[in-house]
């Protein structure tokens, strides 16, 4: 068996719970998972952190590689980077209540994403506006907001990497602001700072934690909303029973949530408040793949911007949410009714920063390819023929007994030398049981 260097930083397997039902194999968009020796799960290819396997597993054997929230802020300065999806988990509370609840849990700062979302939307619209004239980037442009989509493109549609909008995504802008404004002050006091990303999905994972990095690098931790929810709900309920809770904060972007940010938690919300001619919002893994395949073929060149999300209903459908996505969606509607829509940063301010290159993404096409690209070598015609022949010998039932997601992938695995022909129960038994 060849060595398999792929491990995922985004999900963890608990083999003691695994029933070998092979559901996770079948939903993985990069066909990265195999069952080896009828007993253990292995990654043989890039994981994009979409969380489909977590959703598919009925035995609870797969979890996100997130951390449990323990000892928050006790021996360090805890800063929470909050996704607006978190607010949608609370039917009766407004964002300010949730942010205050986080503070009561021990976070010294709870950063809201709205202002950074606005900055991103301005910068994105500006890039598109200029691209209409310069035609530098190919149409359609693709939103960089969902990291799973970017990794999926790098892995499966590398020719589309130039389409990904080269603007820093809202979370990156938020993290950068925190690192530039909040952290230096604490550093000067000699205090350790930990950034907690509160995520609705596993796309951050453990790879970004680098505790052995140089002292300038701050530890970064990913917490799933589901792990935070029980205690946070308890705190929020207490807050709701008191008089109007105003929070004491240091910087403006720690509290002011907007309707626009709530909107972005839903599929279509990102483009809804951007002034772009032709844009489309596509949620869901299968749909995203289907559209990327078509864009690769050359279709949709008349569309300017695509908003892809690998989760159904956008981030509200992330697998680490506490509340079902439709209930969360109605919570978002409620928030929108109260907040309305509207921006707070004037365009000129952003333009000045844009000209200075402040929103330019720091990851080039080649970096993304190196990090997330498909490393499998090309198949020759002979190999394709062999795959056909082997595939014809399988039953086509995709029963998963061989440990591969489907019969065609099994055939490819055999030809690539990653598995044996006899791993297919049907083929190995048809040799010994004539007439079946």
């Amino acid at each position: 068996m060849t060595s398999e260097p792929y491990t995922t930083h985004y999900v963890r397997f608990d083999e003691s719970r695994c029933t070998l039902c092979a559901a996770c194999l079948k939903v993985c968009p990069t066909k990265a998972i195999r069952i080896r020796d009828r007993s253990s799960l292995r990654f043989v290819d890039q994981c994009i952190g979409c969380g489909a396997c977590i959703q598919a597993c009925t035995a609870g054997a797969i979890t996100a590689a997130t951390c449990k929230p323990e000892n928050i802020g006790q021996d360090h300065v805890a800063i929470a980077l909050v996704s607006p999806v978190l607010y949608a988990q609370f039917p009766n509370a407004m964002p300010k209540d949730v942010l205050l609840g986080l503070r009561h849990m021990g976070f010294h700062h709870a950063i809201d994403m709205s202002i950074f979302l606005e900055m991103f939307q301005f910068a994105a619209v500006e890039f598109i506006r200029r691209n209409r004239i310069s035609q530098v980037a190919p149409w359609p442009l693709i939103s960089p907001v969902c990291p799973a989509v970017v990794r999926l493109i790098a892995f499966q549609f590398p020719s589309l990497l130039p389409h990904v909008l080269p603007v820093l995504r809202p979370v990156a802008l938020m993290a950068r602001e925190v690192k530039e404004r909040l952290i230096p002050g604490y550093e000067a006091q000699g205090r350790q700072v930990v950034l907690y990303y509160i995520n609705p999905c596993p796309t951050m994972g453990e790879s970004t934690i680098d505790r052995t990095a140089a002292p300038r690098q701050k530890p970064v931790v990913s917490i799933g909303i589901n792990d935070l929810y029980p205690e946070l709900k308890h705190r929020v309920d207490k807050i709701l029973s008191e008089v109007i809770p105003f929070s004491e904060t240091h910087l403006e972007f720690e509290t002011c949530a907007t309707g626009n940010a709530a909107l972005v938690a839903m599929s279509g919300g990102e483009i809804a408040s951007m002034k772009i001619e032709k844009s489309l919002a596509v949620p869901g893994l299968k749909e995203t793949i289907r559209y990327l395949q078509k864009i690769e073929m050359g279709l949709f060149e008349d569309v300017e911007y695509f908003e892809f999300r690998t989760c159904r209903e956008g981030c509200l459908g992330g697998v680490l949410n506490a509340v079902d996505k439709y209930v969360a969606k109605s919570n978002v509607h409620r928030m929108l009714n109260v907040y309305g829509l509207g921006r707070r940063i004037p365009r000129n301010t952003i333009l000045r920063l844009y000209e200075k290159g402040s929103f330019q993404t720091d990851r080039s096409v080649s970096t993304l390819t190196t990090l997330f690209g498909n490393r499998k070598p090309a198949l020759s015609l002979e190999q394709m023929q062999q795959i056909e022949q082997i595939h014809d010998r399988t039953t086509g039932w995709c029963c998963g007994a061989c440990g591969a997601p489907d019969c065609l992938t099994f055939a490819e695995d055999v030809v690539r030398g990653q598995t044996e022909l006899d791993d297919c129960t049907w083929i190995s038994n048809s040799k010994t049981h004539k007439g079946h």
Partner: protein, 146 residues
């Protein structure tokens, strides 16, 4: 001489699956690391033909023959046939409205598109006997496949 032949059945008016055969072929060619611009040309020709069959034609069959230095693509349907091939080949002629052809629907005859993207194209049809579109794509030596 290694070669690979694949066939796909396309059902008339089955919009739910329309485009799947073309995507399948595109994925095949990608796994062989064929040059991406070439893959795109082949895929779009196939897609135009596939959509034509779904919208206009009767049931159809797509056959692709992959050789080491060239690829042939044949789309044969048992639909009503093309009335005036010369006219259909003129750029701009289409039985689909502008907006329908945009937005990725790729509807309409698209024969001019197929002609522009293939290295050779031949169309045979007789009224009431269906249409057969035969296209060839050549690979340059260094961009070919093993």
């Amino acid at each position: 001489m290694a070669s690979l032949r694949k066939s796909f059945f396309i059902k008339a008016r089955d919009f739910a699956h329309a485009g799947e055969a073309s995507i399948h072929i595109q994925n095949l060619l990608k796994s062989m690391h064929l040059d991406s611009a070439l893959v795109r040309r082949i895929a779009i020709c196939c897609y135009e033909g596939e959509m034509n069959a779904v919208i206009h034609g009767g049931d159809a069959n797509i056959h692709v023959d992959i050789e080491t230095d060239h690829l042939t693509l044949e789309i044969a349907d048992d639909g009503p046939g093309i009335e005036d091939i010369a006219r259909a080949m003129q750029p701009g002629y289409s039985t689909a409205s502008e907006e329908a052809r945009e937005m990725g629907f790729g509807a309409g005859m698209g024969l001019p598109n197929m002609k522009n993207n293939s290295d050779d194209i031949r169309i045979e049809c007789a009224p009431g006997q269906g249409t057969r579109v035969h296209m060839m794509f050549l690979y340059e030596a260094e961009r070919g496949i093993a």
